[in-house]
């Protein structure tokens, strides 16, 4: 009888042992070096469709207290909402930099990617890197933007597209300029696109698009403008009388 109990006890212990959670992931080599700060090299504020990989990789660099690059430091990436990093952690190269490919999650909006490193004492240093995921409406807006808006609203020229921005008397606002664009209410934004600048006492150089674009398309453009604003656009929300 006692033997049965003993056997049962051993079995239970073994089961219990199997259930204890092992440390996640494969065991990692300890970092060879430690930095005091993470800085961004390139790849922030990119636009990509929800779930899709960003066009350019994200590159960060680990610096020491003097600002010199630190090779061999551990960098980790984290973000909310199903964002995938390939890879999500690793050691900086000889130039102190680390490169990862980012696929944003399935919700449209701005994602804050946290890149972090730890110094020798385990204290974490981190930066937040914003990236923009475009949903269906924002993607449609992005397409329409490249057809109708970008030539005047983007001062940058590319080999394929000469900017008309500086040829205008009024300065067309860049859509990424959140300080200006966020101050325009949803209603006014749609009205300017639809009825033109003159309808809102702004420059007539902004043509009316109400007969060129459909209501859906104008809404999509407005959604895109909201999505790319920097600093990010914070909708006012709906107010209700309290119960």
């Amino acid at each position: 009888m006692t033997r049965t109990w003993q056997a049962c006890a051993i079995l239970l212990l073994a089961l219990g042992g199997a259930c204890v959670r092992r440390p996640a992931g494969p065991t990692e080599a300890a970092p060879k070096a430690f930095g005091a700060a993470v800085v961004l090299v390139s790849g922030d504020k990119q636009e990509a469709a929800i779930g899709a990989q960003l066009g350019q990789p994200l590159v960060v660099q680990v610096n020491d207290v003097k600002g010199a690059a630190v090779p061999g430091a551990l960098v980790r990436f984290a973000a909310a909402g199903g964002t995938v990093f390939q890879p999500d952690h690793g050691f900086t190269g000889p130039d102190g930099q680390f490169t990862t490919n980012v696929s944003l999650g399935s919700m449209a909006g701005q994602y804050q990617i946290v890149a972090s490193t730890a110094d020798a004492s385990g204290k974490r240093a981190q930066i937040q890197i914003p990236e923009i995921a475009l949903g269906y409406r924002e993607q449609l807006g992005q397409q329409l933007n490249t057809i109708h808006c970008i030539r005047c609203h983007d001062p940058e020229s590319t080999p394929e597209r000469v900017s008309n921005h500086d040829n205008l008397k009024a300065q067309a606002h860049q859509f990424t300029n959140g300080a200006v664009m966020n101050a325009i209410s949803d209603g006014n934004l749609v009205a300017i696109i639809g009825h033109g600048g003159a309808a809102l006492n702004k420059s007539a150089e902004m043509p009316p698009y109400e007969h060129r674009l459909t209501k859906t398309e104008i809404d999509a453009l407005a959604a895109y403008i909201r999505a790319v604003a920097d600093p990010p656009y914070r909708p006012q929300g709906v107010f209700y009388a309290s119960n």
Partner: protein, 679 residues
């Protein structure tokens, strides 16, 4: 133990009592299981969530308890997703980030008309989260990852949609990279997808290039041109030797040109002149070259020319430049009508574009009959004739598996390579990225596509579903039928000879690089047109791709102009219906006010080169001599009806305003021609 049994089953009364109790408990299990179902917990969670909100009363009233179902027998949809996803249509819950209570982002369709699985896949009938989303390995139709969502649109929308760039790109790649030349893919309308690439015929290849070049190209096509669409067949060196031997051996001489090859000048000045002729002829509108920084500059209609001097033989290049249609009747390259001196200059310029590293010190000994026979066998095995015309080889039928229904391929029938996650998108992606990882004996070659291009291709292939084929015809947005329009007569021959359709579109046929000419005859004046055909000048300063000069004779220009003025006319109005001589000075003045004031046209157009800076639309300094007044008038009212897709906004001017602006523009007959400095 014995005691316990005695207590419970000691006599028949005890046994009866115990069994009754057990039976009762068992009976309680079923309602309890029902009570504790996932979805009930979610519905309670939803009610808790909305309770504290300002519009709680409305939300609670709209909430429907119990199992919910969207049933659409026509689409084969039985979706119970809304049982847990209670807030999909509640726009005021836009700030809620927690699933399953998020509201659905704005979309072009109504949820109750299409259900959920048509776009998102997954098992609509399931009532547990795990079964519905199917993240388990064995589940056949799991939720589609968000990055491929546009594939869902492609099930009904066979025409390009502005909102689905990835799907459009994927469909373009299917046609551009020759996928559809080996794989049969039928659209849901049962139309066979066809290639939009133009793989060259190899029937006269020996006249065009050397065996060494063929070998170097077969080894690594992207080593010759980074933009080459030909994939790498990963051939062994011996196989390359034999295939190149066979290709040279099967080649027949092309119809010999009677004209002797022009002298190629070798001095430095000739290089300069050649470069400027290359620029003036706008070769870069179609052909790309690598610049010093290694970036590709130029169009992608024709092949990249960075290393063309290492490829083509000079006699071939001379006859090609003289008239490309002789070697390749289907080419998009226009007949430039260059004279011998110009051909010599271009040959000097292009012949200098060599790369000694590409062919290297490759030297192939004379081919033996055994090698040639082996080469022929390899060409047959690899399916080269699926794309290229080769003497003595028939285009193989069904060379690769049909992909019409690849988007619904059951996972059970798929053999996954090691390391590939067991989902359909991952399988298709892995097949495209690295086909030979599924077996070294597979024939599919290695493409060099960017990750984003692979996503696009996967999206386009995932649209090829069973559901798409069975979709009610009324829901389908049909693809635009390709036009087989052919202009008639002598002018028609000229239009084909100069390959106008490579850039311009007429009656639905042709490219989109240059303006649509369907109604050009209503638009422009004959005098301007003749002049422009002989010497095209710049109309839109901001464009890089421009109309080249085709060196047409007076007679040819007149023939073309007559045809265009007579045939390409809109039925909507008569081009002479607005007599510009009747415009009064007051009209012109009023038009000027509108032009610079209310409509601010100068932000895109230039009328006065000293003052106006607009860089988007055509320069209007001489528009009165170029366009007909009736065309301008209707253009100002609604340009979209005249040339759909044009950038000109729809001004919707009233008759009076349109008339005044027309009067002002018609007054711009021959303004001072100033060179507008490029930015």
């Amino acid at each position: 133990m014995k005691k316990l049994v005695n207590v419970l089953f000691g006599d028949s009364a005890r046994a009866f009592g115990t069994l009754s109790a057990v039976l009762l408990i068992l009976l309680a299990v079923v309602p309890a299981k029902d009570y504790f179902r996932d979805w009930r917990a979610y519905q309670k969670g939803y009610l808790r969530l909305v309770r504290g909100r300002g519009d709680a009363t409305t939300l609670t009233r709209r909430f429907q308890p119990g199992l919910q179902q969207i049933w659409l027998p026509e689409l084969g949809v039985v979706d119970r997703c809304t049982t847990c996803h209670s807030a999909l249509k509640e726009a005021t819950l836009v700030d809620v980030k927690m699933q399953p209570f998020r509201t659905h982002p704005p979309m072009p369709h109504n949820l109750t008309e299409f259900g959920c699985v048509v776009c998102h896949r997954g098992q609509g009938g399931a009532t547990t989260a795990e079964e519905a989303h199917g993240s388990t390995k064995s589940w056949e139709d799991p939720i589609l990852p968000a990055r491929y969502l546009q594939s869902a649109c492609g099930q009904c929308h066979l025409e390009r949609l502005t909102g689905t760039p990835l799907l459009n790109q994927g469909r373009e790649i299917l046609a551009q990279y020759g996928c559809v030349r080996c794989h049969v893919i039928k659209t849901p309308e049962s139309v066979l997808m066809t290639g939009a690439d133009d793989p060259p015929s190899l029937e006269h290849i020996a006249g065009k290039t050397t065996r060494e070049w063929i070998a170097a190209w077969l080894k690594n096509p992207q080593g010759y041109a980074g933009s080459a669409t030909m994939p790498n067949f990963q051939l062994a060196d011996d196989d390359i030797r034999d295939i190149s031997a066979f290709l040279i051996a099967q080649s027949t001489p092309e119809a010999a040109s009677s004209e002797p090859a022009p002298a190629v000048p070798t001095n430095d000045a000739a290089q300069q002149d050649g470069a400027s002729l290359y620029g003036e002829s706008f070769c870069a509108s179609c052909h790309a070259t690598q610049n010093a920084a290694g970036l590709l500059v130029g169009g992608n209609v024709g092949p990249e020319l960075t290393r063309v001097g290492s490829k083509v033989k000079s006699e071939w290049l001379a006859s090609w430049l003289r008239n490309p249609g002789i070697y390749d009747p289907g080419t998009k390259m226009p007949h430039y009508r260059l004279d011998a001196r110009q051909i010599g200059l271009l040959m000097a310029f292009l012949g200098d574009k060599t790369d000694s590293d590409f062919i290297g010190n490759r030297h192939l000994d004379a081919a033996t009959p055994i090698q040639i026979a082996h080469g022929k066998q390899l060409v047959n095995e690899r399916g080269c004739a699926s794309c290229h015309e080769i003497n003595g080889i028939k285009k193989p039928d069904n060379f690769a598996p049909e992909l019409t229904l690849v988007g619904s391929r059951p996972l059970a029938k798929i053999l996954f390579a090691p390391g590939v996650p067991h989902t359909l998108p991952d399988y298709i992606g892995a097949k495209i990225r690295n086909p030979r990882s599924f077996g070294t004996s597979l024939k599919m070659p290695q493409y060099s596509l960017a990750p984003q291009q692979v996503d696009a291709l996967v999206t386009a292939l995932l649209a090829q579903t069973d559901r798409a084929q069975k979709m009610p015809a009324g829901l389908r947005i049909a693809a635009r039928k390709p036009s087989d329009y052919r202009p008639a007569g002598k002018a028609g021959q000229l239009i084909e000879d100069m390959r106008c359709f490579s850039c311009h579109s007429i009656n639905g046929r042709g490219g989109d690089m240059a303006p649509d000419l369907t109604w050009e005859g209503t638009s422009v004046t004959r005098a301007w047109l003749v002049n422009f055909l002989k010497n095209p000048n710049t109309l839109r300063p901001a464009l890089i791709r421009r109309m080249p000069r085709f060196n047409v004779t007076d007679a040819e220009a007149n023939t073309l102009a007559d045809y265009i003025m007579t045939v390409y006319q809109t039925p909507a109005f008569d081009r002479d219906s607005l007599d510009s001589s009747r415009f009064a000075a007051a009209d012109v003045e009023h038009g000027k006010e509108l032009f610079y004031g209310k409509y601010a046209c100068e932000s895109c157009h230039i009328v006065d080169p000293d003052k106006d800076k607009g860089y988007i639309g055509p320069t209007l300094t001489q528009v009165g001599a170029r366009l007909n007044s009736a065309w301008i008038y209707h253009w100002l009212k609604n340009a979209q009806t005249l040339r759909p897709g044009t950038l000109e906004p729809v001004w919707n001017m009233n008759n009076e305003e349109a008339r005044a602006v027309t009067a002002f523009l018609m007054a711009q007959k021959a303004g001072p021609r100033k060179e507008i400095a490029r930015k």
